[in-house]
């Protein structure tokens, strides 16, 4: 088994889902429309804050083809959904708190009737004063988003401390201070939120949902609607993208409600792109004040950081996202004195929620920009200041956790510094064409893996030997496109000595698969992979033992699994798996095993507000180089070079690592240069894909990915999570590169042509 640790999946082999996806054969939740299925849609507020003074559904009910119209009065249970804090109404009864809040649910026989029914719902509001700025929301006179709530608009607050930051800052040779901001961001998954639900006569609720967390969804739905979670079955086929936007209920509670009221009927809800912008979760906009102090020789001494997150009107995972942001606010650096304070404010903006990079994107932009300011103040090159302070294994992180052994961030920086894009950068800049200024930036990044201490990061894997002698693995963690299902198949095939074609994969189904945590937090392949390999080991041992009976062999350890059977190298004899399987009852053909991610053993005595998810033990490190071109006439910026070096444990499939890194970097580039919701009074003005611009393939360079030799002994085949680490670099690296190119010192994203042009004006008087 140990020799296998050095083997990746067979190189060059396409992932098992590639052909189906390329041919359009893969079935997503959105593709399932049972005959006679009804359609459900939501009437949404359209104002940022108001009291519902009249809600009349009579006209809507009278529309031919409309089957029912449901309001708050039809909701059993608490009417409150939410993952940790339950504060989001399934349907609003008295008050709406953002433009996308749902006030009525219409179920109809077809699309036209649904549209007519939604248009016929009459709702009148009394507008209430609203608040759109998270810092303003925390002032004493701000309008309250949840008037009866103790604590007002302060949804969460926390402190992480090490040493004495204030005194240390006072004694530093240099201190730089800056205020940095990052914007809200939409996930823009290809497949918008959607799903299906049906209540069977037995009372069992069956759902098919594009979701990242089928097991947890049951509890969220049950809590909101007063149901028994055991009576809810959820299937999660492949997702057409998630990125955090499907971590937490989107259509689930609404669909379940419709199903309860219309027993026996299949009901489908599929949000349009526009509805997804309006009602879907967003990356939290954040403002960060940093003071960073060092000795004259560049040694970092202290950091004080205050982060303020815009949660929108409902908690979702805001507190947890803030926690992770705070935990990363000191960067991958050695800093003895640290004070990081975080607050999350309720506002009447769109709802903040999970998004790849989960608070870290915000923190990383701020700390990397502060490092650039400090380097300039010290007259140092940005990369040398980073190298000097790079956190080494065994040293304590900003929040006081010892860094695990393994390839570190300095190695990632050094690999980037040795790369031709870096060594050749001066020549490249000199060769800039007319009207073009080039610049290169290099930053360090890190991303924690898993849920963190206090919230067991678990997965259970089930593996079945079929009667035909092939294998079926039950994936419990949805594949939202990141390729975990394919990785599981490859891992199982390798562990069982079988070709990948002999391993089928059942996608998550709470009725068939054992439970596991969500598809999130760069944890999926690590945690489920570990559980799966354990199940594979048990299975292999069982098969060797059973084969030993058939082969009359006294030393089963001598036997090996080979394609289609078990062989005895000593005798050359072979027993087919189909024969072995025929002798086993079903219970005996199944192996189930589980894994829980290890946590920090001696957590530092800080961050006490965070019972769930602080601190994290394993981090993936990286460095990101961006080369940009700024046009002198237009201020347009093009990202033309991008290199990511990472230490993410062993590489199981290079293509898998590259796809995750490149995809994440593209999303980071969108945040850096393009994406803007253009909020005005809580309303998204750029609420479709003609106005909310994500980068196209022409706007992105080929992204070079360089995973370094590394090993994580606790990981399945030595791997660590790496689905998020690639997203952090482009924001700060593009900003640093633009300073190099045109002297622009960007403190916020996205960086627009207007801003670049203004910087150019200053250069050329």
């Amino acid at each position: 088994m140990d020799a296998d640790r050095d083997k990746g999946a067979s190189p060059g082999a396409p992932r098992v889902d590639a052909l189906d996806k390329a041919c359009g054969r893969q079935r997503y939740a959105a593709d399932e429309t049972p005959p006679g299925c009804l359609l459900a849609g939501v009437k949404r507020a359209g104002i940022p804050h108001g009291r519902i003074v009249r809600l009349d559904t009579a006209a809507a009910r009278a529309v031919p083809g409309v089957v029912t119209v449901l309001t708050r009065a039809d909701v059993p249970g608490t009417n409150r959904q939410g993952i940790v804090h339950k504060d989001q109404p399934v349907l609003c009864g008295q008050r709406v708190r953002h433009h996308g809040d749902p006030v009525a649910l219409v179920v109809a026989e077809n699309k036209d009737a649904l549209a007519a029914g939604l248009a016929a719902v009459e709702v009148a509001f009394e507008a209430l004063p609203a608040v759109f700025d998270p810092e303003e929301a925390l002032s004493p006179n701000a309008p309250l988003v949840h008037p009866d709530r103790e604590g007002g608009n302060l949804l969460a607050h926390g402190l992480m401390e090490k040493g004495d930051a204030e005194s240390a800052l006072a004694g530093c040779d240099v201190v730089v201070a800056g205020r940095f901001a990052t914007p809200a961001q939409d996930h823009v998954s290809l497949e918008p939120p959607n799903g299906l639900a049906r209540l069977a006569p037995s009372g069992r609720l069956t759902m098919v949902v594009s979701t990242q967390a089928p097991f947890r969804d049951r509890f969220e739905i049950a809590q909101a609607l007063g149901l028994d979670p055991q009576r809810i079955r959820i299937r999660a086929p492949y997702l057409g993208g998630g990125f955090g936007g499907k971590d937490g209920a989107t259509v689930q509670c609404l669909l379940a409600l419709a199903a309860l009221r219309l027993p026996g009927r299949w009901i489908k809800m599929a949000w349009s792109r526009e509805e997804t912008f309006l009602a879907g979760y967003k990356r939290h906009a954040a403002v960060m004040d940093i003071r960073l102090g060092a000795r004259a020789d560049g040694t970092l001494e202290a950091i004080a950081c205050a982060m303020c997150f815009d949660a929108g009107p409902y908690a979702h995972l805001s507190g947890e996202i803030m926690e992770l942001g705070m935990e990363h606010a000191g960067g991958p650096y050695r800093i003895p004195h640290v004070r990081i304070e975080g607050s999350c404010a309720y506002t009447n903006n769109p709802v903040g929620g999970a998004f790849r990079g989960f608070g870290v994107v915000q923190a990383c932009f701020a700390v990397e920009r502060a490092m650039d300011m400090l380097a300039r103040r010290l007259g140092r090159a940005p990369e040398s200041l980073r190298l000097q302070n790079a956190l080494r294994p065994g040293e304590t992180s900003a929040v006081g956790v010892a860094a695990e052994p393994g390839t570190d961030v300095a190695a990632c920086l050094n690999a980037a510094l040795a790369h031709p894009l870096w060594t050749g950068r001066e020549a490249w800049k000199q060769a800039a064409p007319a009207f073009t200024r080039r610049g290169v930036g290099l930053v360090a990044v890190q991303n924690a893996m898993g849920y963190g201490r206090g919230l067991p990061d678990h997965a259970t894997a089930k593996l079945e030997l079929t009667r035909q002698g092939t294998f079926r693995l039950y994936n419990s963690v949805p594949d939202m496109g990141q390729g975990n299902a394919a990785a599981f198949v490859a891992m199982a095939a390798q562990a069982l000595g079988q070709p990948e074609a002999a391993v089928a994969c059942v996608q998550p189904d709470t009725a068939a698969c054992p439970p596991a945590g969500s598809s999130s937090a760069s944890r999926t392949v690590y945690t489920f992979g570990n559980a799966l390999l354990r199940a594979c080991r048990t299975m292999a041992e069982k098969l060797r033992n059973r084969a030993a009976l058939a082969l009359l062999c006294d030393t089963p350890d001598r036997l090996v699994l080979t394609p289609g059977g078990v062989s005895d190298p000593a005798t050359g004899r072979f027993v087919p798996l189909s024969v072995l399987a025929g002798f086993l009852i079903r219970d005996d053909r199944i192996c189930i095993d589980q894994f829980v991610m290890p946590v920090v053993e001696n957590p530092p005595d800080t961050g006490r507000e965070f019972k769930l998810g602080f601190p994290h033990r394993y981090f993936t490190y990286g460095a990101c180089l961006c080369g940009v071109e700024a046009d002198e006439l237009t201020g347009r910026v093009r990202l033309v070079q991008c290199l990511l070096t990472v230490a993410c444990g062993k590489v199981f499939t290079l293509a898998g690592v590259e796809q995750q890194l490149a995809g994440a970097a593209a999303q980071g580039a969108g945040l850096a240069l393009f994406e803007e919701l253009a909020l005005e009074g809580g309303r998204i003005r750029a609420g479709d894909l003609s106005t909310y611009l994500i980068p196209t393939s022409l706007d992105l360079p080929d992204i070079d990915c360089l995973p370094l030799p590394d090993d994580e002994p606790s990981g399945p085949l030595g791997i660590k999570g790496m689905g998020e680490v690639g997203i952090h670099g482009p924001g700060p690296a593009v900003a640093q590169a633009l300073f190099d190119a045109v002297g622009l010192d960007a403190a916020s994203l996205p960086i627009t042509p207007e801003v670049v042009l203004a910087a150019l004006e200053e250069l050329t008087p």
Binding site: A434, L633, T691, T696, S697, L698, D699, P753, E754
Partner: protein
């Protein structure tokens, strides 16, 4: 069919966008009508059929060779998929201030060939475009073709679109230029047209008048830019502020410094 109020449809890339004009109305497919497709050489120059796809026009060797300003404009319109379906007739009749082919057609002094039951008439593009979404197209009339006289072989042609990204981006500003110079490099004739800076794509006669007799140096081009600024009336929107657009108007001519 047009009498019944149906909208003529070419590629449908404007017409079928939800929430636009066609919603609920029927369409009359122009595809297959004789004489609307293809590119023909005539004694006067080129005749581009209104139904020829933008992709086909972009690829056409004579257009690439002799009308590079148009080829460049088409190359940055939408995306390959949009160019495969979309047509120049559709781009003209949509008459968006940001229509990418329009500034190029203006500097090429293209003429629109209109056809109806009553016959054909010809209108210069500048007279065809009346306002945002408004054209001189009469009831029952369709665009049959666009006629372009080939410019002198030595003329320099240039098109630049400023968008917020490199594909699928509506122009924030655009500039088309056609410049004829003598052997000494002095401008003999200058034609300049801008997009997204006024209610329609438009020529900039005052800026054009600043160039003849001069070399295309920084000073001359800045002067042209200043004059373009005085000829336009840009608006602000989600893509850019009016101030930025005004800035672009003044700066884009400087790119002509890179003309060979």
């Amino acid at each position: 069919m047009l009498d019944d109020g149906l909208s003529p449809m070419a590629g449908g890339t404007d017409l079928l966008v939800p929430g636009r004009k066609a919603a609920g109305r029927g369409v009359a497919l122009l595809e297959g009508l004789p004489g609307l497709d293809g590119v023909a050489m005539t004694a006067q120059g080129l005749r581009l059929g209104a139904l020829a796809s933008l992709a086909a026009l972009e690829r056409h060797p004579v257009i690439r060779e002799r009308l590079p300003v148009l080829a460049q404009a088409i190359a940055c319109l939408g995306s390959p998929l949009i160019r495969n379906m979309g047509t120049m007739g559709g781009n003209l009749v949509t008459a968006s201030p940001a229509g990418d082919t329009l500034p190029a057609l203006l500097v090429l002094e293209a003429v629109v060939e209109l056809a109806s039951r009553d016959g054909r008439r010809h209108l210069p593009v500048a007279e065809f475009l009346l306002g945002p979404g408004r054209t001189a197209l009469g009831p029952g009339e369709i665009v049959a073709a666009v006629r372009i006289a080939l410019p002198p072989p030595g003329a320099s042609q240039h098109f630049e679109k400023v968008g917020r990204r490199d594909a699928l981006a509506i122009a924030v500003a655009s500039l088309a230029a056609l410049i004829v110079r003598d052997e000494a490099g002095r401008v003999v004739e200058a034609r300049l047209a801008v997009g997204s800076l006024a209610p329609t794509a438009r020529r900039c006669p005052s800026a054009e008048a600043a160039l003849p007799g001069r070399r295309l140096d920084r000073e001359a081009l800045l002067e042209a830019g200043r004059r373009i600024r005085d000829e336009i009336s840009p608006k602000g929107d989600l893509r850019a502020t009016a101030a930025y657009r005004r800035e672009m108007a003044g700066r884009l001519p400087l790119r002509l410094l890179t003309l060979a």
